[in-house]
Amino acid sequence: MKILVVDDEKDVQVLFEQKFRKEIRSHEMIFDFAFSGEEAMQYLHLHEQEAVLILSDINMPGISGLQLLAYIKQQYHKPPPVVMMITAYGDQENYNTAKQLGADDFLTKPVDFTLLKEKLKTAIP
């Protein structure tokens, strides 16, 4: 299962690689990283249908996570990737907007990795 993580904080990569050490080693999960909305779009363009799950931060300079979400949900249909949004602003408005745009799940920072792991495992059957 290939997962694309989108966050403007580069250290997210090291963190995910260590947190999902076992899963990566057992090839249960493969992580790719994009450090902005633009990079994520480019990645999706080059590796269409590869990533089945996208984990995106909402608050990023440039194209925001919500804009990226809208773009993904419009452009990629068969099969649509699962998109989970992560944000430091866990307010109702953000949540509603994300849901409206078709987000499959909504997580708030700081990320509970145990919970995330469970969600990732159940998201893709």
């Binding site: 904080e9 050490r21 608050n59 430091a88 408005e93 700081p110 990795f113």
Partner: protein
């Protein structure tokens, strides 16, 4: 008939009047009055009792001579000495007549014509002297009148001076009171101004709070996450040591090392943000320090963005930075320059947010922040594509208390303080270019003083 008594009457009357003896010399007045009555009596006797006429003649002349003597000797008669001078030849002629008649009547009758001529001369002299005296008296009186007039004027002036002095004293007291009131008002204004500066600072800090919280939360999350994952790694490491898997242990150790570096890095990040916040709220040192303008600008850009983002959840703007690496070591007053940059960025975000509210579709809010070091000048440029500043208010934007924001949202001090900091504090310039509907660019230019 001899005129000596008439002369005496006239002289006595004249002396009393001229010397004003009635008021000034009461004793002499009595004497002169007595002499006047005696003369009148003498005149009457001369007419009635012709037998004692020679004696009366002598008496009259004796009185007249007495007066002439007094006129020359006594200080009281000094002012009327001319009268005595006028009478003197007449009396001398009389004395000469009498003496010559007694000693040598023959000589007298022989030289009678000459004696008579002398008598005529004495009369002419008398008349001339009286005329002169009269004139002198008139001139004197005139001068006296002038002197009196002057004296009066002087007194009047003195009185006016006194009145003026009182008025001046009153006015001075009044002005002194007004001066004191103004000084008190000025002191109050100064106190209010420093309070306003402080509250402006606090207001901008308030706007930043959410941004600061967000900016601190991110590194703190990393610190927590990396320490947690390190804990997991250590457990794994112990397992691998027991298995004797040396390579894996080494790999985990490298990861742990890296994680500790990350923890340290993010800890420092949070530390820097807190320090920056403290620096912002602290009063300015007024001392220029070598400052990394890019780091300062970037920090405030993020803080301002997240501050606005926290208030308006739907807000999003593209931030484009163009930092000149040469702008890393510039002597500025960091707290002050930070406030200027923050203020300009906050304004830019406000401008694009306002425009976004008016035309949400198809509008891409962009805030550009750039630094440039060129030929001894530091240039900081803050550009937005908001609504621009209307022409009618462009001249007022640097005035204190001028704000276009709704009541309670802006202090109206941001740009005026920024202007003061750039121009007075750093000897630079703060310029604005704007086009209505297109956007605004603020440009800070500061001369770089190389120590």
């Amino acid at each position: 008939m001899n005129g000596t008594f008439i002369i005496l009457i006239v002289v006595c009357a004249y002396l009393r009047k001229a010397l004003n003896t009635k008021n000034r010399q009461p004793e002499w007045d009595r004497i002169l009055l007595a002499a006047l009555y005696v003369s009148i009596l003498g005149l009457a006797l001369q007419v009635l009792a012709s037998s004692i006429r020679p004696f009366l003649d002598w008496a009259a002349h004796a009185m007249l001579l007495g007066f002439i003597y007094l006129a020359f000797k006594h200080p009281v008669f000094q002012p009327v000495r001319t009268v005595a001078v006028a009478l003197l030849p007449l009396e001398l002629k009389y004395l000469a007549d009498e003496i010559t008649k007694k000693i040598s009547p023959g000589f007298y009758s022989e030289w009678k014509n000459y004696f008579e001529a002398a008598g005529l001369f004495a009369v002419v002299w008398l008349v001339a002297m009286l005329i002169i005296n009269n004139r002198q008296r008139k001139a004197l009186a005139k001068q006296q009148a002038i002197a009196e007039e002057k004296e009066k004027e002087f007194k009047k002036a003195e009185e006016m001076k006194a009145v003026l002095a009182v008025q001046v004293a009153e006015r001075t007291a009044e002005l002194q009171g007004q001066k004191q009131a103004l000084e008190t008002a000025l002191d109050e204004l100064k106190a209010t101004q420093s309070q306003l500066i402080q509250s402006e600072k606090m207001a901008s800090l308030g706007e930043l709070t959410a941004g600061i919280a967000h900016e601190i939360q991110n590194p703190l999350n990393f610190v927590n996450n990396f320490s947690e994952v390190s804990h997991e790694l250590l457990t794994e490491m112990v397992e691998e040591i027991e298995k004797g898997n040396k390579e894996e242990v080494k790999s985990i150790a490298r990861d742990l090392q890296q994680n500790l570096e990350k923890i340290n890095h993010h800890g420092k990040r949070a530390d820097a943000i807190v320090k920056g916040m403290l620096q912002h709220s602290r009063s300015s040192t007024g001392i220029k320090e070598p400052t990394d303008i890019n780091a300062l600008a970037d920090e405030y850009l993020r803080l301002a963005y997240h501050g606005l983002r926290a208030k308006d959840k739907s807000f999003n703007a593209s931030m484009q930075t163009d930092f000149d690496p040469q702008a890393s070591n510039i002597p500025v007053i960091p707290q002050d320059m930070g406030r200027v940059i923050l203020n300009l960025i906050t304004n830019a975000f406000y401008a694009v947010a306002e425009k976004k509210k008016q035309q949400p579709a198809g509008y891409e809010p962009i805030v550009k922040l750039g630094t440039k070091r060129q030929e001894g000048t530091l240039v900081i440029r803050v550009q937005d594509n908001g609504n621009g500043i209307p022409r009618r208010v462009i001249d007022k934007i640097f005035q204190p208390f001028f704000t276009t924001k709704p009541a309670g949202e802006g202090t109206g001090l941001g740009l005026s303080m920024s202007y003061d900091i750039v121009t007075k504090g750093h000897g630079g310039e703060l310029q604005v270019e704007t086009q209505e509907g297109e956007g605004t660019t603020f440009t800070i230019q500061i001369p770089i003083q190389t120590p």
